[in-house]
């Protein structure tokens, strides 16, 4: 196959456990986002739009829905004969069988895959960030600086800097020091988890790292510090566009709301930088006689007969007559029945909310037994996928609804079906 200048490896194996019920059966990159997308659409579309044609997706945790969604890569024009998209799960070999131990180990286990494509550079990405970036600009900087590694960084408010991996650089942007969540940050340049490595150099470091029994085999914790210690040329590349890690319920909700409140920042209508997604094969959406919709985004297959305000409605979702939806996210196929009042909710795939259900901060006398402060905050309530919620219940904000285990019963969750995919 023709030599590839740069191939991309997308880390998509993590459980995303801070998303609670939303990642119980599906990997975080496959979580629906922004009415017609899945989170990984952003990384994949960035690759395609940057002219990268060989993409490895490293999977491990609950990959079925993700695999099924990605398919052969067709929707992102990555169904190539030469290169294209490959799903890279852990595997067994004569040397034994290992699950991926850390981000660096997952790349280590796929050295042969990368060698076969013989790239000069390898782009390592997370599959769960929302942003639009042309990686070609970063590659140009990497090549010009003859760097061993280039790390995309963005300026964060100084007061938040201690929550991030912070790069301390000289004036040319060379990284002098990397500090993971420093108490007293010396810089406000936070790593975005987007790395370009010169493959030959990374390859050597991965092998050295694997041979170090004390390593946690992680890029941020082990590889980057080791490369700095070896005095490799390490470049910080400043990115100033929109970027969000949707790792928590609140940040997922917030990033969705950003599409409504700050549409110019992650402009989805930009014809020069399309975000591709897998088509749901649904017709245009239908708005009924008495519906009202305001400050919201909707996509194919949706049917709205009720009132929707400042919300994200995904494909095939239905809002029945008289229902009121506000500041909420309906994932694909979610149904909100007549008379509901839904405030700040995330409703999972194919979940049905019974008639006259009320959820939100204004509900004073609601059920408190689903309140879940571990995952939920700021008044957000989350329903898992494939649930059926009873009619007429009132629910306190900050609740999270998990499927009911077999044999158990619940007066609120009438049914929890096995998740259907795509």
């Amino acid at each position: 196959m023709p030599k590839q200048q740069m191939i991309a490896m997308i880390l998509a194996g993590g459980q995303g456990s801070r998303l609670g019920v939303l990642t119980e059966y599906i990997a975080k990159p496959a979580v629906p986002f922004g009415s017609k997308y899945r989170i990984i659409d952003f990384a994949l579309s960035n690759c395609t739009n940057s002219g990268i044609e060989t993409v490895g997706v490293l999977t491990q945790y609950s990959p079925l829905e993700l695999n099924s969604y990605i398919g052969n890569g067709y929707s992102w024009d990555l169904d190539r004969n030469l290169g294209g998209l490959s799903i890279l799960p852990p595997y067994q070999s004569l040397e034994g069988s290992d699950w991926y131990k850390g981000t660096a180990n997952s790349i280590y286990q796929n050295i042969t895959f990368i060698d076969n494509h013989n790239p000069d550079y390898v782009l390592v990405l997370s599959g769960d960030h929302i942003y639009k970036q042309d990686y070609r600009q970063m590659l140009r900087a990497h090549i010009e600086a003859k760097a061993a590694a280039t790390i995309a960084v963005r300026e964060v408010p100084w007061e938040e800097a201690s929550r991030f991996g912070i790069m301390n650089t000289d004036e040319e942007g060379n990284i002098l020091e990397f500090e993971e969540k420093p108490a007293n940050p010396k810089s406000n340049l936070a790593s975005m988890g987007v790395y370009i490595f010169t493959w030959k150099t990374l390859r050597a470091h991965l092998i050295a790292d694997e041979n170090n029994p004390d390593s946690r085999n992680d890029f941020g914790q082990n590889i980057i510090p080791a490369m700095l210690a070896d005095r490799e040329t390490m470049l910080a590349f400043t990115f100033d566009g929109y970027w969000k890690d949707v790792g928590t319920i609140f940040s997922l909700w917030e990033a969705n709301m950003d599409l409504l409140d700050r549409p110019q920042e992650i402009n989805l209508q930009d014809a020069m930088w399309r975000i591709y997604s897998r088509s749901t094969l649904q017709p245009s959406h239908y708005i009924g006689e008495n519906a009202s919709i305001i400050d919201s985004i909707l996509t194919d297959g949706v049917e709205v007969y009720g009132n929707v305000k400042h919300s994200i409605i995904s494909s095939g979702a239905v809002v029945e007559e008289g229902a009121e939806i506000k500041d909420s996210i309906l994932m694909p196929g979610a149904v909100v029945k007549k008379g509901c009042k839904i405030d700040k909710c995330i409703i999972g795939i194919d979940t049905i909310i019974g008639e006259n259900v009320e959820v939100g901060v204004t509900v004073k006398d609601g059920r408190a037994d689903f309140v879940n402060k571990k995952f939920c905050s700021d008044g957000i309530t989350v329903f898992g996928s494939g649930l059926v919620i009873a009619d007429n219940v009132k629910i306190m904000a900050n609740s999270m609804f998990f499927p009911v285990d077999e044999g158990q019963t619940s007066d609120v969750i009438l049914e929890s079906t096995v998740l259907g995919i795509i």
């Binding site: 989805l268 975000i275 017709p283 245009s284 006689e289």
Partner: protein
Amino acid sequence: MLIDAMGIILADNGRVKLGELNDERALAATPFGGRYRIIDFMLSSMVNSGIKHIGILAETKYSSLMDHLGTGSHWDLDRLQQGLRIIPPYMQSDFFRSPSPQDLNGLYDFLKHSVQMHVVVAESNIISNINFTEFVKEHEASGADVTVMYNHDADTLGSPNVSLTFEDNKLVDLLIDPLNLTSDCSSLGAVVLTRSLLMDMLTQAISRSEVLFNTEFILEKYKELTIRGFENNDMTLRVNSLATYFSASMRLLESNILQKLFKAENRIYTKVKNESPARYLKGNHVSNSLISDGCDILGNVEDSVIFRGVKVGKHSKISNCIIMQDTVIRDGAELKNVIIDKDSVIRSGVRLQGSPDYPVVIRKGVIV
């Protein structure tokens, strides 16, 4: 069982023109229903029935059709051996056309290089979600030379193009655009026959320098051949005039029709455009309408079909309209019973009004 049939879809029909909508595009390429083209329905029906080797017979003005179909990948027809083919020599410039006896040779060659036992030949102007499996199976079982699909038209739209009279389920008469109906069976523009029989018929036509090919070409042989009927009861919309195109579009707003066409197990495929979700902004009011991805809605829309990427400005009023892709309706424009083709601009304050039987049509790419 896996179906042993290939398909031929006729992109044009000499007797059906939808006015200015077909000035620069084949009938089959006419936009329909918010995100589709007319041909998507027949093409998807074939694919969903397991027919995976399909030739499209286009006469002229193939350009938008080819742009829509691409490599066939959106219908999963981008295949190494079979898949989708535009049949030459119809494949020619939009600008000149000289029919010649060789016209049917392209179709003949396509059939000759195919391997399936049967051929389903279908017109493209039937909006339905059909499964051809039973149709082919019953044709095989009956021993007929040709089987034609028909319905009783009662709850479907438009006058029949081709009225069929059967005796003992054998076709004995066929009237094209009859003034008085003598039969309640009307052709659904789909026939099935063996590939070898169709090739024989083409050989004869070529030697007689005939150049026209459509389903009537086959049905007219009812005296020499045994042609049987197959009744289809699927929800079907016929598009055979601008008025029926308009009313068929409006009937999509009926809930049961929308469900039957689009939310059945078998889906209708179309070219994917990766538009962003539609945005509903302050001041909008939408009622009983189909709206597509990529739209920005700030005005009033009722009883209408709005295609992808349409911008509806503030205080505008759209009622009983079809607004095609990427058209811009500026603030305060008012439209009633209007069809606006792609890429047009309706300026502020403009008022257009047609009647349901005679909708006003605005050509592609104009500024009004």
